[in-house]
């Protein structure tokens, strides 16, 4: 029997690191359906969870997989699923249910190239806008993009913490290369891992209201069986959680769902900077493409360009204010991503015409070579 936290140095893939991160974060329920290149996460969880008192279940499809983790979350456990493009598409309706009912859970998307079945074994970053807007209606959620196996471990823990703290589904937007590459992963002592649990109600049960928020915008969440007689619905609901078919209830619900994220951006948004102090050309990147960006920055510096890298660790909510501020003092942005323009358009929108924004993208299938970024710098700057 292995302990929950495998403290030590490991040489493992991003997918395995993601699974170990989940276990270290206290995940005790995993429901999934096999899909390349995310299957290894399910396989690893199937092996590890029963030993530590958790439960793995392979469901009949991805719709059922996300439904199972949402159900499990309401019993009080931390739950997760992992998938890739086609499965992610199938999960969209229940992702919206998770947001609307404010159910904490973590969904890993190890991205491959689309559209449709696409290139199942090859990398891509084409699901970034789907992550933000794929379910119907307006909403807010959180999406993180790991760029290495070590980062997969760390970001999965962070995903659980954010999910619990803000009662929102958190997406881990990994990709095939990050998921399948092996690197050194250092797992710290369990006592050094900071964990967050969802806020629990404390007052009188007969006066409890399911969506009565604390000052940070998040409502305490009871579990099934604790005697609160909760009603949870995907219909527009009032503070009690009861269906309320009117405009006022819709506005109040949306204000809470959006407000708890928008009101805590400083806590949720994480970025990393590399050689940004005096940068005039800002390469914006996330996930595996960060590695392209890092190499390109060094190469451009050697050539005399003042280039820097802004890595989006949190992609959604988007660091709008930061991009707006940077736009006032730089010559321009280059977004590097393995798609034909998704986050690029966000950078362009937030730069507000103050600095030009360019895209170095690709149709997918492989990591972007830094030379393509250098060529863009030479052409545009």
């Amino acid at each position: 029997m292995k302990p929950a936290v495998l403290t030590g140095e490991h040489y493992i893939t991003g997918d395995i690191a993601c699974a170990e991160g989940a276990i270290a974060a206290g995940c005790l329920f995993f429901g999934a359906y096999p899909i390349t290149p995310a299957t290894e996460i399910a396989e690893h969880m199937a092996e590890r969870l029963p030993d530590i008192g958790g439960t793995f279940i392979q469901m009949e499809d991805e719709i059922a997989a996300i439904a199972s983790i949402l159900g499990a979350a309401w019993t009080g456990v931390k739950s997760m699923t992992a998938t890739s493009g086609p499965g992610f598409s199938l999960m969209m309706e229940n992702l919206g249910f998770g947001v609307c009912t404010e159910t904490p859970c973590v969904i890993v998307n190890v991205q491959r190239t689309g559209p449709s079945t696409g290139l199942p074994t090859m990398t891509g970053q084409g699901d970034m806008m789907q992550a933000r807007w794929g379910s119907h209606g307006d909403y807010e959620l959180i999406a993180l993009a790991p760029s290495s196996p070590q980062d997969c471990f760390h970001q999965t823990i962070r995903a659980f913490n954010l999910s619990e703290k803000y009662r929102v589904p958190v997406l881990i937007m990994s990709d095939e290369i990050v998921g399948h590459m092996s690197e050194k992963v250092v797992i710290p002592e369990a006592s050094e891992i900071h964990l967050v649990d969802r806020p629990k109600p404390t007052g009188r049960k007969d006066r409890f209201k399911l969506y009565e928020a604390d000052p940070n915008g998040v409502a305490p969440m009871p579990a099934i069986g604790e005697g609160y007689n909760i009603h949870v619905t995907g219909l527009t609901h009032d503070e009690r959680g009861y269906p309320a078919m009117n405009v006022e209830a819709q506005e109040a619900m949306m204000t809470r769902i959006k407000g708890k994220i928008q009101g805590n951006l400083d806590d949720i948004i994480e970025t990393e900077s590399y050689r940004m102090e005096d940068a005039e050309i800002v390469i914006v990147s996330y996930g595996i493409s960060v590695r392209t960006g890092l190499a390109a920055v060094d190469q451009a510096r050697e050539m005399g360009y003042k280039a820097g890298l802004l890595r989006l660790v949190t992609v959604w909510p988007f660091p709008e204010a930061m991009i707006r501020e940077i736009a006032t003092r730089v010559k321009g942005f280059i977004t590097v991503e393995i798609n034909l323009g998704q986050i690029h358009y966000e950078v362009e929108r937030c730069s507000g015409g103050k600095a030009p924004a360019f895209l170095v993208g690709s149709a997918g299938g492989k990591i972007i070579h830094p030379d393509k970024v250098i060529a863009c710098i030479q052409e545009k700057f």
Partner: protein, 282 residues
Amino acid sequence: MTINPKKLAKQPEHPLDDLIRTERIPHIWCPGCGIGTAFSSCLSAIKATGIPYNKFTMVSGIGCSARGAGYIKLDSFHTTHGRAIPFASGIKMAKPDLKVIVFSGDGDLFAIGGNHFIHAARRNMDLTVICVNNLTYGMTGGQCAATTPNKAKSTTTPLGNPDSPFNLPLLAYAAGASYVARWTILHTRDLTTAINEAIVRKGFSFIEVLSPCPINYGRRNKEKPLDTLRLYQDKTIIKNGADPARADIDFEKGVVIGKFIDIDRSTCDDRYTELHRPCSDD
């Protein structure tokens, strides 16, 4: 001459009030609808088990019957269309000591949710699934369902349904359910007993409840509200232990109702514990 009081000082308490979110009444169900009767049987059955209420949870999908989850005073979940069973499976596997009841309609459980139904039955997931079968999509106004009889009229089969309906007890049995029964809302005592048995029986229990939808099914098929109930009385054959293969719904021949299957076999969570959990002396 006496004058009736305008309003009772206090409404008399209903014996099931402790299980109802009375503040949410009146409900949405139409006059002549049978869902309320099926729902009330379900509440009586829950009460009769004597199991503490906080050990129960009700999960539903979308549709008229699925609104039941919003009226029951238990931890209850009104989920997405067709997905009540996988949601309930997640609850059950994460917390196996809970009694998980799925209360939903035929459209929700057998058209959009059909795949989940057969897989949960195959695994013998320890759920009690109650399907109120009114032969149509009531909430959206009477479209053809996977249970609508051949040649029956609906808004999407204005000239008659060209397809054949599912035989739900046969489907449940073939997929592996441990308990399979069918009753109508006219047979409330039998229905209540059946739900009670199904809750107590470990494993995947399925109860089909035939229920009229006079507004959206009866009206288009020359069946007045009382006609449907007469069919339930005159054209049903109570036969416990009947072969589910003979359970097609054909009121001209007669419809078999009763308890078809009641077997004891190990459940999904039992087998998971047995196969995967480490032994205590490990």
